[in-house]
């Protein structure tokens, strides 16, 4: 029931990875179209985070294909995948704690810095220009996410919701083609979730970023995603609109168990 897209931004085909005897991903295939916001849900241990780790190059999948915009990226090192336009946030935040919000976001711009590091060290004028560009770009995203008041504070001193937003700004500063969000609603308050929902919608519509979202908070997923992929025991059991997925018997069985 996959939505047919002729030229998807991301195409995952028959992806497999095993850890010892456990098939964490067992032949997962799906497409993400340009500009789409796709949700990935599933019970705990169904392979959602493993999928993200394979896509961003932290794990190297055993078999299958990952094609981003026509280029096969499976097995590439993580920094190269980042340079090709996949950014992500983490379930348990992976910021640089003793850096300021601004510095964290500046690191996010790193995958775009063009000059090699020797050239960077030797050619002073081009280095200065690039530093200015990076600073401008970081500020741009800090402003768009409303982080100006805390820009010069260390992230370790900030509340969870603000830290999550900083991580989001860092991911966006890389100007990704595909933004992967791993449980952005985890550990934040109800009001912050409403704000997050609005923000994810803005990122998709206003900034034109394609989004892949792993989330347990069902209302959030249903609210922002046009399409939802459901995983269970490393296999895809559904791939459809949020409404249809909610009434899918295989999905209900996966979440509630067989009777």
């Amino acid at each position: 029931m996959t939505v047919a897209t002729t030229d998807p931004l991301l195409r995952v085909t028959d992806l497999r990875i095993r850890f010892g005897g456990i098939k964490a991903l067992d032949g997962v295939s799906f497409d993400v179209g340009r500009g789409e916001t796709v949700g990935v849900i599933g019970p705990n241990g169904s392979g959602k985070t493993t999928l993200f780790n394979c896509l961003s190059g932290i794990y190297s999948a055993d078999e299958g294909g990952i094609v981003l915009d026509g280029a096969a990226i499976r097995g590439m090192p993580a920094h190269e995948i980042a340079a090709r336009g996949i950014s992500r946030t983490f379930q348990n935040l992976a910021l640089f704690p003793t850096m300021t919000v601004l510095d964290n976001v500046k690191v996010g711009c790193h995958s775009h810095s063009s000059s090699s590091f020797v050239a960077n060290a030797l050619r002073f004028p081009s280095m200065l220009r690039e530093e200015a560009e990076i600073r401008d770009r970081a500020w741009h995203w800090i402003e768009r996410l409303g982080l100006e008041p805390v820009a010069h504070q260390l992230v370790t001193d900030l509340p969870m919701g603000t830290q999550k937003k900083t991580e989001l700004a860092r991911a966006l500063a890389a100007e990704p083609r595909l933004l992967m969000l791993d449980e952005p609603a985890g550990g934040i308050s109800h009001e912050e979730i409403d704000e997050l929902e609005e923000l994810i919608r803005r990122i998709g519509q206003e900034f034109g970023v394609t989004i892949l979202l792993v989330e347990h908070h069902v209302a959030l997923v249903m609210g922002v995603c046009a399409r939802v992929v459901v995983l269970n025991f490393g296999q895809k059991i559904a791939d459809d609109s949020p409404g249809r997925v909610q009434s899918d018997t295989a999905v209900i069985r996966a979440y509630l168990g067989t009777d």
């Binding site: 920094h79 340079a83 348990n92 640089f96 704690p97 690191v107 790193h110 530093e131």
Partner: protein
């Protein structure tokens, strides 16, 4: 009063030595998030290289420059050959690798240049100031330390490269996902730390003379200064170095039997700082989620 002032100034001169090393310690800590116990011996080895170059007839500053470059290469090489293979091993295994390096450099220097004590020249004028407590070399050494501090400070605070290096040390996985080439950053960190260490070695060798064991006590003070000042703060480490020098000197003068207790007091200072401010005087607090 005049004695106190003189002793403080003399303490600052000694502190310059510790500050120099503390800066190298902070540099490597920023790059790999660990101490490098071989740092002192690496600096000693570089200093021998400078001595050898001068023995072949090169001028001080030419030898200085070549040794700096040699140390950059040596640092990156050591990381790639010795430490990269064990970087995912436990901290204990890494420490063993550091200690092995320390012994290797010590023996290597002894084998190549023998264990006799050698004088090392100073590039600074031979003038005595403040009642002969401070020499031109002391001032020159302090100036060199402060110049290096300014360089390191600028590098980490304002350059994108320094930022990427801090990111790579703090959270390698996350840095990689931001497109930072973590291994390249680590190699560069090793190179810079080795180079800063070599400068420190070339500055202190005039005062403590050149021999394979010259660094044993100095590197201890260097670590101490870095801990007192804060391991993530280059300026703090330098301040810690000067503070240690002054405390040590005042202890020697004002505490009965103090000259024997210099090192004890320096180490006591670490304990006190760690008790009341575990991140060092200028360090940042880090909260880790578990």
């Amino acid at each position: 009063m005049e004695l106190l002032l003189q002793q403080i100034i003399a303490g600052l001169a000694t502190g310059g030595i510790y500050a120099c090393f503390a800066l190298a310690v902070v540099m490597i800590y920023q790059a790999i998030d660990h101490f490098n116990f071989a740092q002192g011996e690496m600096a000693m080895f570089s200093t021998y290289v400078a001595w050898q170059l001068m023995a072949w007839g090169l001028s001080f500053w030419l030898a200085f420059g070549l040794t700096f470059v040699f140390s950059l290469v040596m640092g990156a090489f050591l990381y790639l050959v010795v430490l990269k293979p064990v970087q995912n091993a436990s901290a204990l295994s890494q420490i063993v690798a550091f200690i092995a390096l320390m012994c290797i450099f010590n023996s290597l220097a002894g084998t190549i240049w023998d264990y006799s004590v050698k004088p090392f020249p100073s590039p600074f004028p031979e003038t005595a100031l403040f009642g002969a407590l401070v020499t031109g070399h002391d001032l020159g050494m302090i100036a060199v330390t402060l110049i290096m501090l300014a360089g390191v400070f600028y590098f980490f605070k304002f350059s994108t490269l320094g930022l990427a290096m801090r990111a790579a040390a703090q959270n390698p996985e996350s840095a990689q996902l931001c497109g930072v080439r973590v291994q390249m950053m680590t190699a560069l960190g090793w190179a810079l730390a080795a180079a800063i260490g070599s400068v420190a070695g070339m500055m202190v060798a005039y005062k403590v003379f050149l021999e394979p064991n010259m660094m044993y006590s100095i590197i201890l003070y260097g670590f101490a200064a870095a801990i007192v000042g804060g391991l993530d703060s280059p300026a703090g480490a330098v301040a810690g170095g000067f503070l240690l020098g002054v405390v040590e000197n005042l202890t020697g003068v004002y505490v009965p039997g103090g000259s024997e207790l210099k090192l004890t007091f320096a180490l006591l200072l670490i304990v006190v700082v760690l008790m009341f401010k575990p991140t060092g005087l200028f360090g940042h607090r880090v909260v880790k989620r578990v």
